[in-house]
Symmetry: C4
Subunit: 211 residues, 4 copies
């Protein structure tokens, strides 16, 4: 890899990290400090109780954006060559990630309404599609490091289907049963963790065999 190419790839990665980090940290900004009318413990417990959907929304969105970052981190760790074609595909993914603080706040503020719920799922669906599109381009044969096993690339590609799938499920669920429509998204961490653990185990094996 030429020095210039390595630098270009590093800087793209770096910029992406910064956008992921800012989007994930801005999630908290839309949780506003309550100002209960009465004072005392009961008033406070009630006020904080009203914020529970916000806290859950924060955790859910943090895990989703965290998963998107972790996948980005793993895929770009496999790359060796900078391909200019990924610049705008990457920016498109980052745009959908940067939009998450709004979608997340919208859903958290109105947890029983189906339109905000569906809007949130749609944001995640688009992010999932753009991630899939970016990784498909990035993981093309000449860009990947020689020591990365084909099985790892295949596993990564399968993994990328989790988000579009679960967000479609959540979108559909929100349409019919607004209440617990977050369930597929709440299950996301488990699905992602399952893929991740599977992927990591395979990778450890392949690293051991090549190392």
């Amino acid at each position: 890899m030429s020095h210039g190419q390595e630098q270009q790839l590093e800087r793209l990665t770096f910029f992406s990290d910064a956008v992921f980090a800012i989007a994930i940290t801005l999630l908290v900004i839309e949780i506003h400090v309550p100002d209960p009318e009465g004072r005392g413990d009961a008033a406070w417990m009630e006020a904080l109780g009203h914020l529970v959907p916000h806290f859950l929304g924060f955790v859910l969105s943090f895990v989703v954006v965290g998963a998107l970052w972790a996948a980005h981190h793993r895929v770009f760790g496999m790359l060796e060559r900078f391909d200019p074609a990924i610049v705008w595909r990457n920016l498109a993914l980052l745009m959908s990630v940067a939009f998450m603080p709004f979608s997340s706040a919208l859903m958290s503020t109105h947890p029983t309404e189906r339109i905000p719920e569906m809007f949130y799922s749609l944001n995640l669906f688009i992010a999932g599609l753009l991630q899939w599109r970016l990784f498909r381009t990035a993981l093309r044969a000449p860009h990947v490091r020689a020591d990365v096993a084909d099985a790892d690339i295949a596993a990564m590609r399968r993994r990328t289907l989790a988000l579009p799938l679960m967000s479609t499920l959540s979108f559909a669920l929100a349409f019919w049963i607004p209440g617990p429509s977050n369930l597929p998204l709440v299950l996301m961490p488990i699905v992602v963790a399952w893929f991740a653990r599977g992927g990591f185990r395979r990778r450890a094996t392949s690293t051991a065999s090549t190392g």
Copy 2:
């Protein structure tokens, strides 16, 4: 390149990346969660409908700041020497970029008024000028890597004229026909993409011939 010089260039690039990343992610902050009086799907669709100018403004500004970053990324990838003269020229460009969340929110909140429209165009025009000024200094002969073709530098310089041109057009259009004055800016991605694709193709050729 001495170790110290390389570090100084890297850190300047890094700081710039961070400012670009923050400005691009803060664009979403001015989109506030609506609180429709009535509940139900119709009220929600209307409330989200009112936010459409904000969504479009977010996409447009994200693409413009993204294009400014992508150009910065490409130009600094061509450099080899750190020139102290670029420190403040770079900070000036970053200032105009850091101001974008305000201009973008101003325009999106009042999409049919010509003054906010012109203010937005003016911000982009200044950013375009400062970018042109920075790149002119940065791309001077002794700073550029030996393996960068002269044609690439020339292409980059032409590319830099897109933003001042299109924002002037948009400013003028806003003065006479406030409504669709964003059109030249909406076309920006196409213009930039056209330049970019041309540049990338040339670059791929030159890399192949030198590599």
Copy 3:
């Protein structure tokens, strides 16, 4: 260390730095500019006087997040191998850090109420636990650089107990005596500094002996 592994570790560190940096800088965002009804010095001194709990809260939270970053910085400086198992343990710690701007604002806005006080202590307690859990995994034998002394690792592990301890103390104090319940947290810098100085001294010694 393979090139790929080093890169993965670097990028994880980098992403963490960005989240720490954003969380620590967002602490100021919840301090709102006052608008005193009367003008003149007296009105202003009173208005700024009302903000004193916010200023103190900002300093306290800045020091706590700064200490969490400094510890992260030191521990990851000891590592040589990237272990995929730290990805989500690290994200969990970052989640509790990204939540600090809310907890800090909640406590600062209502400095005499015990529930906000206890909420803040709870956030710190969770952050302390997650830090302890991350470091326990990260500092396992095969990941640590050969030139790091066992005494340094042991010192680091002891250090990590400061935050859970002091936040538990603060939580209990807030329950019984809401007023000065911040005291253990105010003492945190001293405790952390004491640990830090001890650690740094030991480290300097070990570096000197290996260098």
Copy 4:
């Protein structure tokens, strides 16, 4: 320089860059989009006219934080060894920088009141002192790269006195003549530029003689 030490220094620099970048970009957040009652050009020009102090405050604070970053960038570019003693001195400087968005908004919102003016000057004065303290420790003999000329270090130390001096002047001026008390701060860029240019020229000479 050992690999670990270089990494520690790099990461500290990196974290500082991120905090500088976020603080400088958050400056725009306190400029709120106006909503003039009447529509039409006149109403808009008036509304934007009211924001002029905010725009000027943004530019001034951007330049001051930019200058603090540029100085940090230059000093850390001279370093070779990581000294744990700079960790907290650096965090203290960053705390005063992270506080700037509040001070800047406070001053800009009330441009004719002397208390906000003095508060802003005080913030800058503290930042200046903490910068001076950090650089004094950082630039001690064993930490500086061998190829850095003593004259450069001396120039850097003189440079660091500009901010405490000018902010004291501005503080005093605000006490007696609230109106144009920003003048010394407005002159800051010139003073800093003068120091900077002097420093850069000397540095170019020393680089040429060692290179």
